[in-house]
């Protein structure tokens, strides 16, 4: 299991994998938003939590098609499916690797980008907390989308169409935590909901992903 994790991490780090790319994409989204909505700092401060969450979500989405596609092409997935390790576990590891290479850098970088958008003072803590809690769910749900569409040529766009509606609850609660935090309001309820969704998704989604992948590998 650790070997698989290590391998995935190394592959992502090497050969210009998604590692820096997602982060760069996140930065670009953050930079483009003020061009779109205007430079007024009050306005930016108000929409900053939502924009940062949306940017993180899109950056996550961007790197999903290489999550399984490369392993599908070179046959690694067939090997994984026949290995003693349950496919559910293998996919959880892959989702974890995706989170470490995509989600974690986003969580770390988000406060920096928050500066660009004039995020209010108390918002930084809650932004990091909500992203740290929410991005694992994004990776796990994304793995399901990748498993569904892995057999389809040029399935990237289709995968976005399938995955984005599934991201709705996570986005709503995650952005709500960040927004309430930035406004200095009580954040307990959405935080608990977000944690609940992440925990539930981590527990259940690997089974759905593995089912979808088995169908594709048939």
């Amino acid at each position: 299991m650790t070997a698989l994790l290590y391998r995935d991490l190394m592959l992502a780090l090497r050969a210009g994998g998604g590692f820096g790319l997602g982060l760069a994409f996140f930065l670009i989204v953050t930079v483009l938003v003020p061009f779109g909505v205007g430079p007024q700092s009050e306005l930016l401060a108000r929409i900053a939590p939502g924009i940062l969450w949306l940017g993180a979500l899109l950056a996550c989405l961007l790197s999903l098609d290489r999550l399984l596609a490369l392993d599908w092409e070179d046959g690694t997935l067939d090997l994984l499916a026949t290995s003693p390790l349950p496919l559910e576990a293998a996919l959880s590891i892959k989702a974890l690797a995706h989170w470490i290479t995509t989600g974690l850098p986003l969580v770390v970088a988000a406060p920096l980008f928050g500066v660009l958008l004039n995020l209010p003072g108390p918002g930084y803590l809650w932004l990091v907390v909500s992203l740290a809690l929410g991005t694992p769910a994004l990776s796990v749900i994304g793995t399901f989308g990748a498993a569904l569409t892995v057999g389809i040529k040029r399935g990237g766009l289709l995968m976005s169409l399938l995955v984005l509606p599934l991201y709705v609850p996570t986005l709503i609660f995650g952005a709500e935590v960040a927004r309430r935090g930035a406004a200095g309001l009580e954040t307990t309820t959405p935080l608990l909901m977000l944690a609940g969704i992440t925990a539930g998704v981590i527990a259940v989604m690997p089974f759905a992903s593995a089912a979808a992948l088995r169908i594709n590998l048939r």
Binding site: G151, L158, L162, P165, L166, F173, M193, I215
Partner: protein
Amino acid sequence: MSVTDDKPAIKRPSGFWSYANPVKFLGFSERILPALWVLSAACLALGLVWGFFFTPDDFRQGSTVKIIYLHVPSALMAINAWFMMLVASLIWIVRRHHVSALAARAAAPVGVVMTLIALVTGAIWGQPMWGTWWAWDPRLTSFLILFLFYLGYIALWEAIEDPDTAADLTAVLCLVGTVFAVLSRYAVNFWNQGLHQGASLSLDKEENVADVFYFPLLVCIAGFVLLFFALVLYRTGTEIRLRRTRALLARQGRQ
């Protein structure tokens, strides 16, 4: 797979499950469809004409109340179509009846159109009543999300070549999608109350509807339900024929 296999059945299922046999299903739908078309057309015509011409205006909403005869039945069917797809997908996963998978596929476009009608009539109704075409009201928002789920489901069906793989994957998507659709419904509820503190725009439907409006509405709902069944039965037949054609063509190609 081929629906043309005429192997002698080892154990012929009876009752409801016997309609999992495509030939028997086609025969049954051929027999029942004319009646369904006529009944649904009659109910729709009766309900809509009754509602449009012979019901009074609401004292607050004026004549816009007449939109209810389209809005409520289509919204109802938009949700029930997804529910029917869920049941059909489950039957496909558990019992592997191809007719069931095809019925789920056949229902999706009908559901999309129902969702679209609900959204469009809602927007047109909202404009004079709330002063806006669209508001991020929980109910409206969840319908929009439902619409996206329908689109994804249909797109997945279209994208996969192998029919059995497509049926399996869309069934999995339907199950997962249902869970997330329900989650989204609650999330959206929370999200908007969080923003607007109870300043809800949605109408209290149950309270508003008096008997004058209620009976034509029931007829319209019956019409929409019948139309849905007619469309799904017909479309399932179409899917069965398309697949049989493909199977025959593949066999002829091999010879």
